[in-house]
């Protein structure tokens, strides 16, 4: 039994958070951020403030060397100023890269107060704003982890095969920027992170421990942003998929925008390029965000969670979990209007 993760605990405040959205998640997995807010605000009755004034953290630009550190610090200082003005002291970003970047800047300021003073000066000159350092910085997956038992008590479905009663075999994948930069800031540290594993275990599933569990999905900005380098990200995801396939996982869950997208979309690319498909009957291994996983457990409708936008069809998983859904509503918006159906790919056809 691996208990190494217990060496890495972090403080996660129980309530009152200022929420910072991701700049790409709403395109990739459009229902996840709304699901997070619904779960926290409606199901768990917690105070999470979704502020329309906040912006990107500049993470992609920063990691691609097109936004200088000083600019990034000033933008992040502004986010903290908005949090302070709204009367909050806990900060929860939805994106793993943002979480890593906020952590990096707080760490920099802790060791170099003169750089913090400079950031305060830049922010004042640019916006006449001031800020307080957050008392608690957590990632959204930390919050779902924190409330995992409460969610388990409210569960309508469990991560269990409804027919056989067998726990679902779940591959968990953690974004590199969650804990590989600062192991002490992630639940369970960098090598044996527990943030998603804890949710899976609490909701009835079993975590698959496969050899390439800790390998990066390949999303690294410097690789995928350069078209000529994209073979490298695909190769990384392929390495992981090849390694997990013998364990017959029922689905993959990740806590990073990029990992979710790559592990899902690359399955189609690999199928087209190599004719290789993974999962049961070669239908692909569904990839979920942790909000989608929590949403399904709590009884949210899969199409309300945005799961119709996945590359790998989720219907086999829904059937396995015994979740009722209407196939004909898959491509309807909330008003019942068609959002149009994608063309059927050559592979991974549900």
């Amino acid at each position: 039994m691996n208990n190494n993760w217990k060496n890495y605990q972090k403080d996660i405040s129980n309530d009152h958070y200022y929420y910072a959205r991701s700049c790409i998640r709403q395109n990739f997995f459009p229902g996840s951020e709304t699901a997070f807010l619904n779960i926290l605000q409606k199901d768990l009755q917690r105070d999470i403030f979704d502020d329309p004034k906040h912006t990107t953290c500049t993470g992609i630009g920063y990691h691609s060397d097109i936004v200088p550190f000083e600019t990034t610090m000033t933008v992040i200082a502004r986010q903290f100023a908005l949090m302070t003005e709204a009367g909050y002291s806990n900060f929860v970003p939805s994106c793993v890269t943002s979480f890593g970047l906020y952590s990096e800047i707080l760490e920099t300021w802790e060791h170099h107060p003169e750089i913090e003073a400079q950031a305060r000066d830049y922010l004042w000159k640019a916006t006449r704003r001031e800020f307080k350092i957050p008392e608690n910085l957590v990632h959204t997956s930390d919050l779902i982890f924190h409330f995992r038992e409460e969610i388990a008590r409210k569960a309508k479905f469990r991560l269990v095969n409804a027919e056989t009663g067998r726990p679902l075999q779940v591959v968990e994948h953690i974004g590199c920027h969650y804990a590989k930069i600062f192991p002490s800031r992630g639940v369970g540290g960098a090598e044996f992170p527990y943030v998603l594993a804890g949710m899976i275990e609490s909701w009835g599933g079993e975590v698959v421990d496969y050899p390439e569990r800790r390998h990066c999905c390949g999303f690294g900005f410097r690789q995928y942003l350069v078209m000529a380098n994209r073979g490298y990200p695909v190769a990384n995801s392929r390495k992981k998929l090849e390694s997990m396939q013998p364990y017959q996982p029922d689905f993959i869950v990740t806590n990073c925008p990029g990992c979710s997208m790559f592990l899902d979309r690359w399955q189609y690319v690999i199928a087209e390029q190599e004719g290789v498909t993974y999962g049961e009957k070669g239908m692909g291994i569904p990839v979920l965000t942790y909000e989608e996983m929590a949403g399904l457990v709590l009884g949210y409708q899969p199409w309300d969670l945005g799961m119709q936008t996945h590359q790998v069809a989720v219907e086999p998983l829904l059937r396995k979990m015994g979740i009722p859904f209407r196939e004909e509503e898959k491509y309807l918006d909330r008003n019942g209007k068609s959002i149009s159906c994608p063309e059927k790919p050559s592979f991974l056809i549900a």
Binding site: N2, N4, G189, A190, E191, F192, D209, Y210, P211, E212, R213, R214, P246, Y247
Partner: protein, 361 residues
């Protein structure tokens, strides 16, 4: 005259034992302290010594025999509670209530092996087939057979060098000096026991500095067919068959490498022991790299400390092989004698009559 002078030695490992032996030869009274029941320190856990595979027990017995003298008083299972200094004496308060007076104090508190669980990526403590070099040596010492956790004879064994050494990530930038040659020695011992097995050593550099080390390294390759791969292992994971999958980069071919292995041995480095850290704190001794004790001046006075009357020897100063430890201990004993005013006999002036002349006539 020397019998009136008393030296307290803290730590009865090889360094402490050797200092005690030399001082007692010169009729100093020595009190030798240790937290364990037996003298010998880490030597007690070793089976064979590099580079000649000599028996560690034989050496220990030989050393113990030299200590069987009335001048030496061994106090086992004690720790030092307090040390106070006056103009005349050093007073050492022990955990059992004893108060020991000393004219000089020798710190030989040694090292401890690196806790391999801190290198989480190698899965020590998590995967049963990941063991340390110290545990492998215990297995040799107890003449047990090498088996995997499910009782199989391992077909492939990987030894990974520099665990907790030359590694900024775990805070130890220094080389522990003995792990390379220990890996060569243990790799050969594995091949002697399991001739059919494949043995791989993953290294950063092979630091074969000692007498006979390079020759043993060559023998490992030529006679025992052990494969040395220049590259650090990045991580280990368990695959479906229960084997370990390890990843590394072969930096000579410049290619990543992935292999399955039955057993992985982590060559754990040296860190200051708890006793060494306690002595530093208690005596306000200077620190050197990695938290070891800094001697006063490097070359000319290598065993004195910034505290008059307090001397250091052995691996509490930094990673050291056993032979270097014993040499350092002898040097330390000489410095103590000098400090206590021992007159080393001057060379007798040879009289003209006794001179031997060489003459071509």
């Amino acid at each position: 005259m020397n019998q009136s002078k008393q030296v307290v030695i803290i730590g009865a490992g090889p360094a402490g034992m050797e200092v005690a032996a030399v001082l007692s030869d010169h009729r100093y009274r020595v009190t030798l302290l240790d937290k364990e029941l037996q003298m010998g320190g880490k030597l007690n856990q070793w089976a064979h010594l590099f580079p000649d595979f000599s028996d560690a027990d034989e050496l220990r017995h030989a050393m113990l025999q030299r200590l069987n003298k009335p001048e030496i008083h061994f106090v086992p299972q004690v720790t030092v509670e307090q040390i106070s200094f006056s103009s005349e004496k050093i007073r050492v308060q022990l955990s059992d209530g004893q108060l020991v007076n000393a004219d000089a104090l020798m710190v030989t508190t040694g090292f401890q092996v690196f806790n391999a669980a801190r290198k989480e990526e190698y899965g020590y403590g998590l995967y049963q087939n990941v063991i340390t070099s110290a545990e492998l040596e215990t297995l040799f010492r107890e003449s047990r057979t090498i088996r995997t956790s499910n009782g199989r004879k391992p077909g492939r064994i990987a030894l990974v060098h520099c665990i907790g050494s030359r590694d900024e990530k775990c805070g130890n930038t220094y080389c522990s000096r003995v792990c390379c040659i220990t890996a060569v020695k243990q790799a050969i011992e594995i091949k002697k026991r399991l001739p059919q097995s494949e043995v791989f050593c993953f290294y950063i550099d092979m630091r074969m500095f000692g007498h006979g080390f390079e020759e043993l390294y060559r023998e490992a390759q030529e006679k025992w067919n052990i494969t040395f791969i220049r590259g650090r292992v990045s991580e280990a994971a368990r695959n479906q068959d229960g084997l370990l999958q390890i990843k590394a980069e072969d930096t000579l071919t410049g290619r990543p490498l992935k292999m399955n292995t039955d057993l992985m041995v982590l060559m754990v480095g040296m860190e200051p022991s708890d006793g060494t850290r306690q002595m530093q704190w208690m005596l306000n001794l200077k620190q050197t790299f990695g938290g070891f004790i800094q001697s006063e001046t490097g070359l000319l006075n290598g065993n004195a400390t910034n505290h008059a009357g307090v001397f250091v020897a052995g691996s509490c100063k930094g990673p050291m092989s056993l032979s270097d430890t014993l040499t350092d201990a002898r040097s330390a004993a000489l410095e103590v004698m000098k400090y206590l005013g021992h007159s080393i006999p001057e060379r007798q002036q040879a009289s003209a009559e006794n001179e031997i002349s060489f003459d071509n006539r």
